[in-house]
Each structure stands twice: as C-alpha cells, then as structure tokens.
Amino acid sequence: MRIPATTAPSVSPQMRPTFWLRQAPRVTVLLFLVPVAAGLAGTVLPAFGWLPALGGRHLTLAPWLRLAAEPGLGRAIALTFATGLTATVVSVLLVLGLCAHWHGRKPGRIGRAVFAPILAAPHAAMAIGVGFLIAPSGWIVRLLSPWLTGWHQPPDLATVQDPYGFALTLGLLVKEVPYLLLMTLTALSQLPVARELEAAAALGYGRSVAWLKIVLPRLYPQIRLPLYAVLAYALSVVDMALILGPSNPPTLSVLALRWFTAPDVSMYFPAAAAALLQLLIVLGSIALWRAGERIVCALGRRWIASGRRRSRLEPLSSLAAVLVAGLGLLGAAALLDLAVWSLTSRWRFPRILPSHWSAAAWREQVAVILWPLETTVTVALVASALAVVLVLGCLEYEQQRGSAPQARSLWLLYVPLLVPQIAFLFGMQVLLTFSRLDGTLLAVIWSHLLFVVPYVFLSLADPWRSLDTRYARTALCLGASPRRVFLRIKLPLLLRPVLVAAAVGLAVSIDQYLPTLFAGAGRVVTLTTEAVTLASGGGRRVTGVFALLQALVPLAAYGCALGVSRRHGPRRVLPGARA
C-alpha cells in the first residue's frame, strides 16, 4: 500500500515532540476506534440475540431466521449489490476515462464552477434535486412534452424509486464522480505526468493510451482507498436510497433502518442482523474488487507489454468525458430545480416553468428554519475545528518525530468510511445512551467527527507534507522553537489549505444524516435531517428551501475559506512565497 505523498516525509531535524503533541495521534485514534469498536460490538451481539436490556439473554440464531423470513430479502440484497457496484464501477470508469481524455490537462474554470457546488451539496439535497429532475413529471419530461412525447399527463413510468434502483445509481453517480475526480486530480498532481506523457508521445503512443499505460498504473494505488470508501458508501447509503431508491423492497440498509426504528422493539434483533449482513456485503465487495484488480492488472500488463501505440479506447475516453459533463449538467440542473421549486406556487404538468411564483415557502420557513440552521452550523463548526486541530496535531507530530507516514494509520483513519454507518451507529447509540450522552450536541459532534476527521486529513496531509522544508529549517536555525515555527511559519504559509480543509470538514458534517439521527436521538435537528424528513413527506417547496440551504451553507464556507486565504494568504507573510 502506498500512501498519497511523494515528498520525502523526514523534513525537519528530529526532536522530541511536546507532551500535548504526543497525545494528538493517540487521542485521534481513541476518538475513532472506541465508538466504532463499541458500535460494532453493540451490533454483533444483538444480531445473535444478546441484548439484556430488551430481554435477549442468550445467544441464538433467531434474528437471522427472522431476517431470512423477510419477504423480498433476496431482492433487497441483490438491489444493494447492483446499485452499489454499478455506481462504483461506472464512477471509476468515467473518472479514469475523463482523465485519460484530458491526459494531463487540468479542468477549466467552467468545470470547476460546475463541480464545486455539486461537491459541496450534501447527498440528500442532491438526491432530492435529481428526483425532481427525472420524475415522470420532472423537468426532463416537461422539456420534451407534449411536443415530442405527446404526453399531456405524466407517463406511468417508474423513473424515480424504480424497482431496479437505476435512479439511485444515477444519484450516486452525480455525487461520487466529482468526488472521485477530485481525489484523482489530487493524486495526479503528485505524479510527474507531463514529463512521462511527453516521453510516451515521443515513442509514438496515442495520448489517452499513453495515459492509461503509463500514468494509471502509478495513479491507481493512490486512489484505492478513496475508491473503497466510495464502494462502501454506495453499498450502504441510506439518505439517497430513501429518496431515490425503491421501497418495496428497499436496499438492505434502509430495511435495517426501518426495523431499528420500528415500534416493535423485538425488531432490533433482526435489524442488527441486517446491519451485520450489510457489513459483510461491504467487506465481501471490497474483497471482490481486489480480486477484480488482480485480473485487470494481469490483463493490463499484457496490454502494456504488447507495445501497441493506438487503441479503440481513444474514442471511449471522449465518451467518458461527455458523460461526465452530462452528469455535471444534471447535478447543476438538480440544484437549480430545487431553487425553482422553493419559489413555486403552482406548476402543473407539462409547463416548463411554474405558472405562479411565490416566496411563501421561504417566508413561512424563516421561523422554523432558525433552530435547525443554528444547530447545523454549530455542530459543523465545532466538528470541523476539532478535526483541523487533531489533524494538524497528528501531522505536526509526524514531522517533528521525523517518522514516515504509516500506511497502517491511514487505513485506521479510513475505518469509519469503510464500515457501513448502519453497522456501528446503532451500537454506538446504545453506548451513548448508557453514558447519558445521547441526544446531546456533544454526541452528534462526536459522531460527525468520525467522518469529518478522515476527510480533513485527506485534504490537509498532502499540502502539509509537501511544504518546502527549508522555511522551517531556516527558522529553527535562527533559534525559533518548534512551536513558534508551527505558529509563525507553517500555519500562515498553509493558511489556505487549512481553511479549505476546514470548509471540507464543514461540508462533510452537514452531509451526515444517519449519525445525526442516531447520536442526536431524533432530538438534534439539522438541515439535513429536516430535508430528508420533508423529502419523504413530499412538500416539494419546503423541501426545496431546506435542500437549497443545506447546499448553500457548505458552499458559503468554501467561499469564505477562499476569500479569507486570499486576503491573508502566504504573500502577506513571506513575500514571494508559494505554498
């Protein structure tokens, strides 16, 4: 396993980190592993009938038998596999195809402008928007009706919540492709792509072929972990599946959630079994993926060694670029659709725009929205600030100790992203309930931290590690303490990545549905829980208001991060410095 850093990590003279700094990695790991491990235990035991609080005092296979007796279980499992695997495979192919098509170029201003809001928009908001768009009465059909389709009434077609999960897969693609693209571009920026492509071109290789043969084999190990995170997420997603997925039967994670929240508490036991099955599905899929990697790797080696310069893949990579552009357009249109619905009074099929506009939904929601908005922002700010402090502590510790970043620790960091949320959140809730923390902001912040820290780490580690070490060394030689170097040199130089990482943390926190639901005991209400609740409740105008706000808050955070860093960027600290 290679870690995504190419700069030599041993950057500063070795020294003994202070007491507090030494605690940073320990605290981080403790914050992570305790809830995940306890949460898993709290799921595994009830899955075999052991939960004394509910009268389960001996181990039994009854929960599994109950699970097996559920009508439609087979379909639910098949659906889970189909949507999760398809979304991941297609995402990877599209992203790699696009990068091969670009072969070393960077996305332009327009591309960034389209994908930034899609990346920032939470999954739930995007699912709601995509649902609006592709419904039988949605914008796409309206644009084509009745002049092309002849439909004066929406067709009776299951384009949303379809039994095969196509809509869910599409929704996942809209969100996961930009994410994977971002991770790939980050990894690419650390490879000497241009030089190698020039060499390949000199040898007569087609551009996309050269990219696939030379860049991809070195790129892939670096995007493997984010890719597994996408796979695990797509297999176990709940909020998107609730909004876009079928309900009869739903995917396995939704089924588990349905039982966890059933009035009949005896359903906890099969729910725990379903959650455990979900975990097995994710682990099995990752194993399957690894096997697939081996096969592709073996075939790829033969292809590379064949020395062929051209390939029929060339037009396919252009197709991938077109499809990604289409997904970007779909995502942007989905967000626009949210805005239009939030301002709609009446909008009957097949009109392309509402016949009556009204700001009533916004006006009515002002009073209702303040509390969830305040909670959302508080939780996100605290979680993101804590995450930045912890991650900076870990990175600084690593540099001061002069140790190479450990692949092992990176895997640890990924644990919350690879283990399905439903598999440990219930157990974690039991833990929180016993410690009297459930339903408090603290519990919600903690549960968010599990997901915020990995993303903040991913976004901060590379810029931090690749900062030119001579600044720090010079300062140390001039007699500055490591603390002073950290505060006066490194932080100001890296202000921009730190702020961007904080904004990423904020966006990840706002995205969390299930952790808020479980740790908050339903009592901590955020824009996300409101939006998902409303989406199932159907009030499209109000849903539009909440989903739009949910997407705007992280976007505003990115804007602030970029604005502030531009104002107080490295140039103000060290003239001529490039961070």
Binding site: G72, A135, S137, P246, T533
Partner: protein, 396 residues
C-alpha cells in the same frame, strides 16, 4: 436491569397518585422555564406552522419553550422511549410530548411507558366532547387519561373535477373504476398509516361481519375476515399507479403525485387537505374532496407524555393549550389548519362559540353532513397484521 425494571414499575405505580395530587397552579408554576421537546410528525408544513404558533403562545403565556422534534414517522418517538427504558433512563428522557394515536399509543400504553392519567388535571379537558367515542377510545383502546385530544381526522378522497367526471363512491366500485382509469389511483405504502387506513376502510366494507374489527385480531379471525379483501385487491392492484408494484411513501408524497398530474384520485386522512392546498395556490380551484357513501374511518389525534419525560408540567401546559377554545378555533380555521374541533361547543361561553361560528367555510371540504358519517377505527392489531400480510403477498 432488574433494578431498572423495578424502578419503572415503582414509577408507574407512583405516577397516578402524584398526578392527582398536583393542582393546576402548581403545574403552571413548575412549568415555568421548561423546554418541552414535542415529537410530532413533520410531513405537513401547515401543522408545523401551527405548532410554531402554539410555541409562541405558550412561551408568551406560560414561559414554556416548545420545540418540535420533526419526525418522519411517529414510531421513531415510540422506539426512542422504549430504547430509553431499555437503557434504564427512567427520569431524564428526551421526549416530553408525542403527537400520537392508534398503534403507537397502544404500543406505549401496553408497556406502561406513558405518564398519567393526566388529562383530568387539564382545566380545558372539561370542554371536551365526551359524547364523541373517538375522544375516549383510540382505535378501540381506552384512552384512560393517558393522552389528550387535539384534532380530528377522517378518511376522504381528493380529485380534480376538471380531469375526472366520475369517482367511485363505494369500496366495491374501485376495481371497475380503476380498470377504466388505469394508473390513475394509488394509496401510500402499507408501512404508512394512510396506506393501512385505506386497507382497513376496504376491509370494513368487504368483510362479512365488521364487528370483529373492534376486537383484537387472532390469526383465525384475521384470515377469515380478510379473505374478501385480498380477492378485491387482486382485482384492483393491476390497475393502480405503477401497476401496484410501487407505492408512494406517505400521504404528502401522494399529494405531490396528484399535483404533478401523475394520478387523478387519492385518499387523505385530512378532510381539509384539498381546501388548504387550494387556498395556498398549490392545487387548482377545480379540486374536490368527498366521503364514501357509507361513511369512512375517522379518529382523533392526541398528545401523550412519556413516563420518563423530565418536563411533564410543561408538556401538560402545552396539552392544555391545545384544548383551549383559542387554539381549537385556530386549528379549525381553514387558513391555518382547518377541520372539526374536539371540543363540545355547548360547553363553551357565548364569545368562545362565536369564534367557531365565525370560521370561514370552504367549498373544497366535504360537507359537514358527510363528515358525520364516521366509522370507528379497528383494534390496532388489525393494522399491523394487515401491513404484514400485504407485504407477504405483494412484495416481489
């Protein structure tokens, strides 16, 4: 855990005694400064706005902060209380008040997880219409003072008269109607209360002896009673929206389908829904709602207080306010919520009665006479059995 169980038992035994001991002034005093977490289904924006209004009123009059915990499904609150009991959290629960009725009330009451009886302490409970059976028996389960009414609901059907000339006026007419209008009718999924309510309505019309529905459903009785329902459903289902393979998740989701023109006819458990939507400009003025010829199921919405709520006084203040003529008149006003009151107008003062007389009438609501054709809800066990049997039969 045994100790916790004993404690719960002790609390349950203690509560009635304590409840009777506290006079209302003391409750009001105790409620000052309390924050009441009100777990309420949040799928209807008008109800959310009404609750926000209630919050402003109780803050002004009684210094009680009311916070709606928006639920997707009331069962989430039930689960929460049960989970808290399981964790031994007997005094510091997170739920103070639940909008509840039917199976969810039964689930909590049966386990002794509700505070009460508390309703006779509420001064405004004296104004309640006790002749209305639905105010005393919630889905056949005696209320016994463990929940306080605040609203009435009844099954109606909504359609757009501009698109639809003929509608089915009886359950037996549905299959033939649907065959003529394929894909234009559906009901919410059976996990949703409205979906089950539609099945119960059909069962009421089709089963040989509707009286059995008032008793708990045993497997033998259930199979015999529901046989005609399944035969009827087998005829109807192929002509439903999406061929009866998928169902909308809830009533509001189905209303969106009606608005989008995906369907022409929908059930609703809120007789004022169409009127409210016309008033808000969401549905055209050609929309109509009606009650079936032989009547439809109706019930009362209640609020209940979990046994481990730390803010029982505040919750009682809210329950009492919901029963006040002022709140009831606001709830009865079609501009805000609309629908019949749970109060007995004869028990009100002249000026209070005038509030109700002055309420605007809406041509988009079923007539008052139609709304008097109310059928009692079956015992809660029927709903869960119907949902399970439906899933068993119709999950692909």
């Amino acid at each position: 855990m045994a100790a916790a169980g004993a404690l719960v038992l002790a609390l349950c035994l203690l509560v009635p005694v304590r409840a009777r001991a506290a006079p209302w002034q003391q409750v009001l005093h105790q409620a000052r400064g309390e924050t009441v977490y009100f777990d309420a289904w949040a799928g209807d924006q008008r109800v959310n706005s009404f609750i926000a209004w209630v919050a402003r009123q109780v803050a002004a009059c009684c210094d009680v902060t009311l916070r709606q915990v928006p639920l997707e499904d009331t069962s989430a609150a039930v689960t929460q209380v049960i989970a808290e009991k399981a964790a031994g959290d007997n005094a510091e629960g997170t739920v103070d008040l639940i909008w509840i009725n039917g199976p969810n009330f039964y689930a909590l009451k049966r386990r002794g997880l509700l505070y009460g009886p508390f309703t006779q302490q509420l001064p405004n409970a004296a104004l309640l219409d006790v002749r209305d059976r639905a105010n005393r028996f919630d889905f056949t389960v005696p209320v016994d003072g463990y929940e306080s009414p605040w609203r009435k609901a009844q099954l109606v059907f909504i359609y757009d008269s501009a698109y639809l000339k003929h509608v089915p006026h009886g359950i037996r007419a549905f299959p033939a109607w649907a065959k003529r209008h394929p894909g234009r009718f559906t009901f919410p999924q059976v996990q949703n209360f409205l979906g089950v309510a539609f099945l119960e309505q059909a069962l009421y019309a089709l089963t040989p002896d509707p009286a059995v529905l008032q008793r708990p459903a045993t497997p033998a009785i259930f199979d015999k009673a529901t046989a005609p329902l399944w035969a009827w459903l087998d005829q109807l289902r192929p002509y439903l929206w999406r061929g009866g393979r998928e169902f909308p998740v809830s009533g509001p989701a189905e209303r969106q389908l009606l608005e989008d023109g995906e369907i022409d006819l929908m059930p609703s458990f809120n007789p004022t829904e169409a009127a409210a939507d016309v008033a808000a400009g969401r549905l055209p003025r050609t929309v109509r709602s009606y009650v079936l010829t032989h009547g439809t199921l109706g019930n009362t919405s209640f609020v209940a207080i979990p046994y481990n709520s730390p803010h029982k006084a505040g919750a009682m203040v809210v329950a009492n306010f919901l029963l006040s003529p002022r709140a009831q008149a606001r709830a009865g006003n079609i501009h805000y919520l609309g629908g019949p009151t749970v109060l007995d107008l004869k028990r009100l003062t002249g000026s209070e009665r005038a509030r109700f007389a002055a309420l605007p009438h809406s041509p988009w609501m079923p007539s008052d006479r139609a709304l008097r054709r109310v059928l009692p809800e079956p015992h809660p066990s029927w709903a869960s059995r119907l949902a399970a049997a439906f899933e068993q039969r119709y999950t692909p």
